[in-house]
Symmetry: C2
Subunit: 485 residues, 2 copies
């Protein structure tokens, strides 16, 4: 077992911090008072990770479940704010956050207090089938959790249980909308109703969702057909013949490669238009930043053009904000940065919102009931948590915090010559290392030094801090990176 050691902020880091703090304070109008005063002042490591107790529990769990993907066993009771404690008593600064899904820190009082709320306890003890008999306070949750932060111009929300379910129900909505438009005022034909029961056309039409190379939209059969981040997710699983356009492969930093990047984006958009001639596409789905596929960015102009192509071709424009949504980029929704002339047709969410689903407009509601439907249609408990998240983001001005710490982090990462292709939007930041092997080693080393970080793509490190990640955390991260590299 390693000797216990507390990682202190190096003097180099201190200088960096104080040099920029004043400038940033001016832009955010606030200091760096900790959101979690009882957080550790830094990582505290007692053992290697995973330690002996993690390994013991993993061995027991492996009798029932595959444990090969587990980093370590957590002790959530003792975790606090941006620090995750493991079963061996190691406290790590968490910049992975349960695959980018913890919004406002571990054991945030806003969540702990919810547990005492009688309405929350009622929702927990009585799980509603929301399409049959929602509780009388469900409409309040919808307003306080989802409508309060609805993308401009989007008036409806459909809730489900996970990100894959969100995307697949958005896809279904697109297919139903497109088919209904073609059908006009006519009812379903007998042939359609009969053929679909055997999974045959015309009832089961050969329509597509167009997505992008390196995109990730989930792992169920429809969402997986739209996914193209890694072969290991897809191989051996039957897929629909849905097309993939090449996502632009930009060079970073973007402002130094504008001509090249513009060319890449134009090629991508050209290929999109070509594919629309070959396939019967109901919708295009795209992530604002391709996350699982390697944190690949494109310009606001690219996305505006993409929406324009959709409009021109009468195709729906679905923005998958499962990983980018809920504040990580400095705006509540990442696509706010695009300055679109009108809202997307659908915006999907999950992860940091705790609740999953998608926004849509009333015109996309299927003409017949029971077509967008399932038993639970979401989870009132998670919707109440989503409302608490929205409150916390507002009360603590967490978007300002994300912008400020994101600027600070990006600035210092850009200065680090050991890192390739630093790119980011707010605190949603990534960089590449030389090779997949070096990246993997870096992630392991960081964990041993008390900072939990994750990878994506082939050789990318993705930073996914919670919205409560502050400049003093960023200094620890930067300092630990220097030691690990």
């Amino acid at each position: 077992m390693l000797a216990a050691r507390r990682l202190l902020i190096s003097s180099a880091t201190k200088k960096r911090y104080y040099a920029t703090a004043q400038a940033l304070e001016e832009t955010t109008g606030g200091g760096d008072a900790p959101f979690f005063p009882s957080e550790p002042s830094g990582p505290f490591m007692k053992t290697t990770v995973p330690g002996p107790e993690s390994k013991r529990i993993m061995k027991q769990l492996d009798n029932y479940q595959d444990t090969r993907s587990i980093f370590f066993i957590a002790d959530f009771e003792k975790s606090i704010g941006n620090y995750i404690m493991d079963a061996d008593g190691n406290a790590m600064l968490d910049v992975f956050a349960q695959i980018a899904s913890i919004p406002i820190g571990y054991n945030n009082p806003a969540f702990l207090n919810l547990a005492k709320d009688p309405a929350f306890q009622t929702a927990l003890a009585n799980r509603a089938a929301l399409g049959v008999s929602p509780n009388k306070d469900w409409v309040d949750s919808v307003e306080k959790a989802f409508m309060r932060v609805a993308p401009v111009g989007m008036s409806n929300v459909f809730t489900v249980m996970c990100g894959s379910c969100a995307n697949e129900n958005a896809f279904k909505t697109a297919f139903m909308y497109k088919a209904a438009k073609r059908r006009g005022d006519k009812d379903f034909s007998l042939n359609e109703l009969q053929s679909c029961m055997n999974n045959q056309a015309p009832g089961s039409p050969d329509m597509s969702i167009l997505s992008f190379s390196r995109g990730f939209h989930g792992r169920l059969f429809g969402s997986l057909a739209a996914t193209a981040s890694k072969a290991i997710h897809k191989v051996d699983i039957p897929a629909f013949n849905w097309p993939k356009a090449p996502f632009p492969e930009l060079r970073y930093p973007q402002h130094l490669h504008q001509d090249y990047n513009q060319q890449m984006e134009q090629q991508s958009l050209h290929e999109v238009e070509q594919l629309l001639n070959k396939h019967d596409v109901a919708a295009i789905v795209v992530e604002p930043i391709q996350s699982e596929g390697g944190d690949n960015h494109a310009s606001p102009h690219f996305f505006r053009q993409l929406q324009a192509i959709c409009k021109k071709n009468d195709i729906l424009f679905i923005v998958d904000e499962v990983q980018t949504g809920v504040g990580a980029t400095g705006t509540f929704w990442a696509h706010e940065a695009w300055d679109l002339p009108t809202s997307p047709d659908m915006v999907t969410f999950s992860k940091k919102f705790q609740a999953a689903g998608f926004y849509l407009n009333q015109r996309l509601r299927p003409t017949q009931p029971y077509r967008l439907y399932n038993t639970w249609m979401g989870d009132p408990v998670r919707a109440m948590q989503a409302a608490a998240i929205v409150n916390e983001i507002h009360d603590k001005q967490l978007l300002d915090n994300v912008k400020s710490v994101g600027n600070y982090l990006q600035h210092h990462l850009n200065d680090n010559r050991k890192l390739e292709s630093v790119r980011g939007q707010g605190a949603f930041i990534a960089f590449d290392l030389e090779s997949p092997k070096k990246r993997d080693q870096f992630l392991t080393d960081m964990r041993q030094l008390g900072v939990n970080v994750g990878g994506c793509g082939d050789k990318t490190v993705r930073l996914r801090p919670m919205l409560t990640f502050q400049k003093h955390h960023a200094d620890i991260l930067l300092d630990t990176m220097e030691r690990a590299l």
Copy 2:
């Protein structure tokens, strides 16, 4: 507004109850002491359903969500045991139970007490990515919730977020298993890895899941391709060319139609074997009782034969217990009644277990990690509730209760000449009315009389009482039915 009226048990019902109570007590060794002493003694109706307050809330909610499928707005805080209270103060005996998904009654103390448990509060405030860093008590939940009631011979469990996700991950497991078996010791070919990224063979193979006509396995793209209960669920949505075998259309009561039914079952099995010659099938999926599709039964012999066909053809046998599981048929899993020589290959669950997922055997684990994987991989909160459900079923001997009240209900329903094709297993009971229109009218009338019941298939009424539904509730149900018919 209707005058308030309390529905009292008619003297006819009383006679029926006392005549059979003694006999049933002998078989169950227990009386009919109420599980919920503070339940209303019967339905209490103040308004029509939906009443004015339900309508007001539905109108507000309809700004954001489609409300056409909503029966009424619930007041879960005031609901208790087998009685659901609505927003207008109507107390209804609930024999629909949030589409068969409430296991042990509204506001069961076992659930209410959980909310006070610090471990439960920790799980609520810190949602784990279970494939990355589960909490140190997750393995306990797995043992206490899932392994304690695992079907005999099944050692592993994979948890997800909903029933459709459970089935789709079981399908993926079957495809990966079949492909790995064919591949033998070889690694993936470059061609496989490249072609799957474009959704093309050989990486995305043309393999199938075989399911049955009138089956329901979910509403996402893979599960919907296996579903064939109603055209409205499927029309306009692209589907895989997966085959459907005819599910036997039995006559009820089964013991009066043995020859005919055997013939139907043999025809179905014959067709299954024919389809296996035409399609590359990785697995057969079947419900023990086709629920959404009309409560269609088959004999234990049929299912044993089906498993034998799977074994002979090296195909996996998946039993979809999303609606039948967790005690409703009088055994924890409905397929226990089949007396299979070996366990199914996978058993999927959701609904009444609150947690969703599927059982499998270790040999079905993919050779490579991250292939059965997603962000949350289930929900620790719902797993803790599942453990509480298992405890409650054990402590209160709820399976005995289900058997007893199921016998009682089936006996009296069989005597009712106005009902067609009464069939059931435990308290999982259904009957037909003359026409879809009469069935729909019956459901509406029952609700006005204070009993919440649902339909399935075209003209079927499905009874889905909770496991805490007792003989005195059955008497109210039977009595109300007499008045409604």
